[in-house]
């Protein structure tokens, strides 16, 4: 809208004396802008704006234009023809970012259990954004379940039944097409240290890993393999053209190509581990190979909070009300009770560890142990009872999560230039009676609560 005004001014400056050629050119120039007007300009007015990038703005305005946030603030000029949404008495905040889910993947498609190490597997290939299988409508579905919780961005991951499960991705919960909803792919390589990847011990025919030692060994072997593959590629690249003609390039290996991204620190390793000893193992191995690390679930992570803070290793905690841990419920592996601490998040935050809160949830009909990301706001609210401030609690499910996922340039806060992923709530976000009224993704209204927004 603003660009269009400027453009008009330019036209006035040039005057009407110029020949028609220029106006034709101008029309051509204006074409993309006209197309972008498919998405209306929206101004959300009057609500309390929690930007996650500064103080709350009482009676603020958020302008969504061309799928981006055009302006946030108290004194914002609203463009002509903007669709005005009155949010008086309501709260406006960025869409929730759920840093760990199995959303959109059939539970039994989460792992390739025949092999313990499959870095070549891509979770985006198993991701199904079309709603109910064999039913429904054309195109990508606006899943009302997850949107009703205000979740606009999720990290999708392979399951934890393998040592190296594969490559995870960051997607939006709605987008016009694959390109639109994919924020980052691959975003990380998902791994697990603990009991889930261990095979049933059998005297004949059992394959590694059968122990924690075996898990660590497989991880080391994969990383050593990647180092060697990377060296081979480098050696080949350094050859002269003549030499290259004689020698054949190293054969392509999808898994190793992905692992090289780890070694180059393009993406982190996300290692799910709950016992503090397993977290130490994860840190030890990542130090050995100099790769970035994110701890997932991390029930006992607070016990090594100073090491995590010093090495700037983020932790993505599971939901406190219904803890997701390795293998399902805590009561299924009672040893984990000794790692549990309600103050875990507060202790980590105080030590300076980047922390996100995630649902580890399933959706689209999955029968998960874990809760759906739909209730992530309530999970965050619960933590405020345990020394986490309201602001920290909300950041753990927005900007902190976006930073850990490496997509904070696009989502996670209400700032000019970021994606227009905005939610409107009918009350204070952390209260039990608060509902998400409206959800906007890329400036498009994708969810409106029945009987909610007027």
């Amino acid at each position: 809208m603003f660009r269009r005004r400027q453009f008009t001014r330019q036209l006035q400056a040039v005057g009407w004396v110029l020949p028609a050629v220029l106006s034709v050119a101008a029309l051509l120039l204006a074409l993309p802008i006209l197309q972008a007007q498919d998405k209306p300009v929206i101004a959300i007015q009057g609500g309390t704006v929690l930007t996650m990038a500064g103080d709350a703005i009482e009676g603020g305005t958020v302008v969504l234009w061309q799928g981006k946030i055009a302006a946030v603030g108290k004194q914002v000029s609203i463009p002509d023809g903007a669709q005005i949404i009155d949010a008086t008495g309501k709260y406006v905040m960025p869409g929730i970012v759920d840093a760990m889910t199995y959303y959109g993947i059939r539970p039994f498609a989460l792992n390739d259990r025949a092999k313990p190490v499959t870095p070549e597997n891509k979770v985006i290939l198993a991701y199904y954004p079309f709603g109910k299988r064999m039913h429904g409508e054309k195109g990508i579905v606006k899943d009302q379940e997850i949107l009703s919780g205000g979740v606009t961005t999720v990290y999708i991951a392979p399951g934890d039944q393998q040592v190296i499960g594969g490559q995870g991705a960051v997607v939006k919960t709605y987008g016009a097409d694959y390109q639109a909803f994919t924020l980052r792919e691959p975003a990380a390589i998902d791994m697990c240290i603990g009991d889930p990847p261990k095979q049933e011990p059998r005297y004949i025919g059992a394959k590694p890993p059968l122990t924690r030692m075996g898990i660590a060994t497989l991880l080391r072997k994969a990383l050593v393999g990647a180092q060697q593959y990377g060296q081979k590629l480098k050696d080949y690249d350094q050859k002269t053209d003549e030499e290259k003609e004689k020698a054949s390039p190293p054969p392509r290996n999808l898994g190793m190509e992905a692992m090289i991204k780890l070694l180059n620190k393009d993406i982190p390793a996300r290692i799910e581990s709950d016992f503090v000893d397993d977290i130490r193992t994860a840190i030890r191995i990542c130090d050995e190979f100099d790769i970035d690390l994110v701890i997932d679930s991390g029930l006992g992570a607070y016990k090594v909070k100073d090491i995590l803070a010093e090495k700037k290793i983020p932790v993505v905690l599971g939901p406190p009300i219904h803890p997701f841990v390795q293998g399902g419920e805590v009561s299924m592996s009672p040893d984990l009770y000794r790692e549990m601490d309600d103050y875990s998040a507060a202790k980590l935050l105080k030590a300076g560890v980047p922390v996100a809160l995630a649902s580890f949830g399933f959706s689209f009909g999955g029968f998960g142990y874990a809760t759906s990301g739909r209730w992530l706001l309530l999970e965050a609210a619960y933590l405020t009872g345990f020394n986490v401030s309201d602001e920290e609690a909300l950041k753990m499910i927005t900007i902190n999560a976006a930073q850990i996922l490496g997509v904070d340039d696009r989502v996670g806060s209400l700032e000019k230039g970021k994606d227009a992923d905005v939610i409107i709530l009918d009350g204070y976000p952390l209260h039990i009676k608060t509902w998400v009224d409206q959800v906007f993704i890329d400036g498009e209204n994708v969810y409106t609560r029945r009987g909610g927004a007027k």
Binding site: L210, R212, M213, R220, Q228, T281
Partner: protein, 404 residues
């Protein structure tokens, strides 16, 4: 135990530590233990000795030691002090029993016990109560080559500082019930020899060729061939011992035997090759015959270096000291028995520069006992690890009374 009692205990310990320390901070303490009979292991016992401890290390030990001015003096007259006990073969801290063995995969020298180490188990505390301050804990004996052990102290605030050696001692196992055991190990050592040759050729060349592919398993075995790591083998029968000695003759690696109940049958062969034996005289769970208990003396007389082990959880780490006592009962000299639970295991684990005896400059890992160290009736009074109070019997008894 009620929460209040716990709090009382913790605060008592803190008060005690505060009493011990003269300056702020626990590690910066200087204090003196005075009046005990000290078995330094490095020499004859010293009666009425004084030990000065500074920054967690032993600063001085002897009868005529000048005590620094103004430091706290702990009177231990009438007690005995021995170095913190060292158990060279244990499985303590292994997560769950099935985390010990990558079974039935036979060869896994690259596996590391540290990756399965469980620091939350109460076993660590129990070991301290028995005076055990350093252990070598490693993989089980389900595989022919189980992996690498970790050498670690049983007490300490900072886990990183507790670890003396992160990975070492290649654990192997021969059960003698299968013809394939020795050939499996033999052929893998042959492979490792080839691997080592390739790397040595690469290292000594101009390095223009790409390096040989890295193999973690062969890398571990190559270390043993180069003499950087020790091979430790779980072994039972005399014929297996002979087979392994032949392997040592062929490859020249440094070898140590674990368990070896029949080692005495070939004591001279073992002594000739300077192979130490880590034995366990109280294999209550395994019900060993008298011959083994007498065999330890046979080995000693043949000049074999001996160490005891608990094989925790086979016999509890807490009663490790009784292994030495049992050896004494069957005729091992007392000094040799004490060495077998202190300096010998330290030397065999290659950590003797830090632990194993009471000498100037070594870690202040000390056990104060209320009577002769080898008597079963003698209780452990106090245990110090790195100069920190790890256990105090009087606090413990106080708690026990409260609980009653």
């Amino acid at each position: 135990m009620s929460v209040i009692k716990r709090v009382v205990f913790v605060s008592l310990v803190i008060v005690y530590l505060a009493g011990v320390s003269t300056s702020s901070g626990n590690q910066e303490t200087t204090f003196v233990l005075k009046g005990a009979r000290v078995h330094t292991v490095a020499g004859p016992p010293i009666d009425n000795a004084t030990i000065v401890i500074e920054n967690g290390k032993i600063a001085a030990v002897g009868q005529n030691v000048t005590i620094p001015a103004g430091v706290k003096i702990i009177d231990v007259t009438g007690k005995e002090i021995i170095p913190g006990l060292i158990d060279d073969h244990s499985h303590m801290g292994a997560y769950v029993p099935n985390d010990l063995n990558e079974m039935p995969q036979p060869i896994g020298p690259e596996n590391r016990a540290i990756d399965a180490l469980h620091m939350g188990t109460p076993d660590w505390n129990e070991a301290v109560k028995g005076g055990v301050t350093t252990i070598v804990t490693g993989p089980g004996s389900g595989e022919r080559m189980g992996g690498q052990s970790v050498t670690i102290k049983t007490f300490g605030k900072d886990l990183e500082k507790r670890i003396l050696k992160e990975a070492g001692e290649l654990k192997m196992a021969i059960n003698g019930i299968n013809l394939s055991h020795i050939p499996t190990i033999h052929s893998n050592f042959l492979k490792a020899k080839e691997y080592l040759k390739k790397w040595e050729k690469y290292e000594s060349g101009d390095k223009k060729e790409p390096p040989p592919p890295r193999d973690l398993a062969m890398e571990a075995l190559a270390k043993a061939l180069k003499g950087e790591e020790v091979v430790r083998v779980h072994i039972m029968w005399a014929n297996d011992i002979m087979s392994f000695l032949k392997l040592k003759d062929e490859f020249g690696f440094e070898l140590q035997f674990i368990h070896a109940p029949e080692a005495w049958k070939v004591a001279d062969e073992i002594a000739k090759r300077n192979v130490p034996v880590i034995c366990m005289p109280i294999e209550l769970a395994i019900n060993v015959p008298e011959s083994l208990l007498r065999g330890i003396v046979t080995l000693h007389k043949a000049g074999v270096k001996l160490a005891m082990h608990s094989d925790h959880p086979v016999s509890p780490e807490k009663w490790f000291r009784i292994n030495a006592s049992m050896a004494i009962r069957y005729g091992l000299p007392k000094e040799a028995a004490l060495k077998a639970v202190t300096i010998n295991p330290a030397e065999m684990a290659k950590v003797a520069d830090r632990v194993g005896s009471i000498e100037k400059g070594k870690d202040a890992d000390l056990v104060v006992l209320d009577g002769p160290w080898y008597e079963a009736t003698t209780p452990v009074d106090m245990v110090l690890v790195d100069g920190l109070l790890a256990y105090d019997r009087h606090q413990d008894e106080h708690m026990a009374e409260e609980e009653l």
